[in-house]
């Protein structure tokens, strides 16, 4: 016993020093991050002043203030976020059970897989004309293409996660007397959670990409629509405000999912 506890004490000490150096590392890289962003903005400014047809950062900021002030930006963000969240939520809610079905039952897989493989090769944007003809120009076609984008990204990785569950873990549960339902709920679901969350992040990215394109076509409000109409008036600052808003919102949502991933899959051994 003494040998073992000595060794654990040693490794605890090692962990502490490792943690300390890891704590220093993010601070250094945060400084670099900020410096890099500042440099990018400075470069943009220089290029704009040098005569490239770009609005300067102050012009963009003052446009943002105006758009926030008259409520346009808020309304656009709300409209776009609602679409993304609705499509993304529906897409992942459908993808997780379908992915499990494909991974767990060979029959389910054989039935569903050709459709998934086919639609995976068709970019969701290519569905937009069809969706508009069938569903009109309201919210339905936009949410539908976002749904499709999120669904396809998430279903594949959920399926992969279920297929990749370590056989030894399933056997370990079986020899402890656990039946199929218990193995599914207590082994397969937790073991495939990391895959599902990766799928959700990819799905969120493609939802966002699809949103803007969907709004470029037929919408009365939304960030994509705002940029489209700004283009008609050669209104570059508004386009910049739209682009930056999309970037920031996408980043925020991705970070939220990353946080959820850390909390839910902290048990994983990372190498």
């Amino acid at each position: 016993m003494a040998v073992i506890s000595d060794r654990t004490a040693g490794s605890a000490r090692r962990n502490r020093t490792a943690q300390a150096s890891r704590a220093r590392a993010p601070r250094a890289s945060l400084v670099l991050n900020l410096a890099s962003v500042a440099f990018g903005i400075a470069l943009w400014w220089v290029l704009a002043v040098a005569g490239l047809k770009l609005p300067t950062p102050p012009e963009v900021v003052s446009r943002a203030v105006t758009l926030i002030g008259d409520g346009t930006l808020g309304k656009d963000v709300a409209a776009s976020l609602t679409r993304v969240l609705a499509g993304f939520a529906l897409g992942t809610a459908a993808a997780i059970p379908v992915g499990f079905l494909m991974g767990w039952y060979a029959t389910g897989r054989a039935i569903v897989e050709p459709w998934i493989q086919f639609f995976r090769t068709v970019p969701p944007l290519a569905i937009i004309p069809l969706a508009i003809v069938l569903m009109g120009i309201g919210e339905a076609p936009k949410i539908f293409v976002i749904f499709l984008a999120a669904f396809l990204a998430c279903v594949i990785s959920t399926f992969q996660g279920v297929v990749d569950v370590d056989r030894t873990l399933i056997n370990a549960a079986r020899v402890l007397g656990t039946g199929d339902a218990g193995i599914f709920a207590r082994v397969v679901v937790p073991a495939s959670t990391p895959f599902i969350l990766v799928g959700m992040r990819v799905g969120l990215g493609s939802s966002w990409a699809t949103l803007v394109a969907a709004e470029l076509i037929a919408a009365q409000e939304g960030l994509g629509y705002r940029m489209q109409s700004a283009q008609l008036f050669y209104d570059l600052p508004t386009i910049f405000v739209g682009l930056i808003s999309i970037g920031i919102l996408g980043l925020l949502m991705d970070r939220l999912l990353l946080l959820a991933e850390r909390r839910l899959t902290g048990w994983q051994e990372r190498r």
Partner: protein, 271 residues
Amino acid sequence: MNAKISVRDVRKEFALGKESFTALDGVSLDIADNEFLTVVGPSGCGKSTLMNILAGLEQPTSGEALVDGARVSGPGPDRGVIFQQYALFPWLTVRQNVEFGLKTAKVPKGERRARAQHFIDVVGLSDFAEALPKMLSGGMRQRCAIARAYAVNPSILLMDEPFGALDALTRVKLQEQLLDTWSREQRTVMFITHDVDEAVFLANRVVVMAARPGRIYDVIDVDLPYPRTEEFRLSTEFAELRNRVWHSVYHQDGRSAADHRTTRSPEHATP
């Protein structure tokens, strides 16, 4: 004879493409109640297959395995299995891992806690009950797996090279701890290993297997008392038995050692 475990003329074939491969052929073996049996043999001798058949994870092609006189048809909590790769659920803490089988058996929470705690204490992991497997060393993981198998109170423990992935020092430590645990909580044990020293140190009886086809080559009684300590490991009795088992494992010729002895001409026979 009413054996705890009875293996009768078991044959197991695996399909290898169009060929079939005989993993076990004509294996018969009786294991008495509370016996500590070790199985040693070269790789490919079918020792893991034999264990999987007893665990109910695989079915024999012909012949049968009986536990308490009843035919083994699937896994069950009466037979605890300990795998070489530990097979701990990485998302559960040590305590939750040990409670896994008890939860399956719907043991009420209070009793579940108490039983899990008892076996966590027995294997010396009290200070790590709330730790995730990724925090544990290999030896600690295997002790957790042993506690998990013990917790559902199986009358049989099947161990498939449980210490095979550990360093030599940890292995010796765990062998002694395992015997200590076994002397306090008697069970029928079948322990598979490729380490001759380990086979002799632990066993009442050593079964030596041969490969192509997998079969029982020799059975050697280890008629020496427990508790076994370092002194035993360094004794001449141990060395003699070790040599015998070593010979049987590394100098296999003929169908079995018994056949071999009868077919050999008398002048070559060992006195």
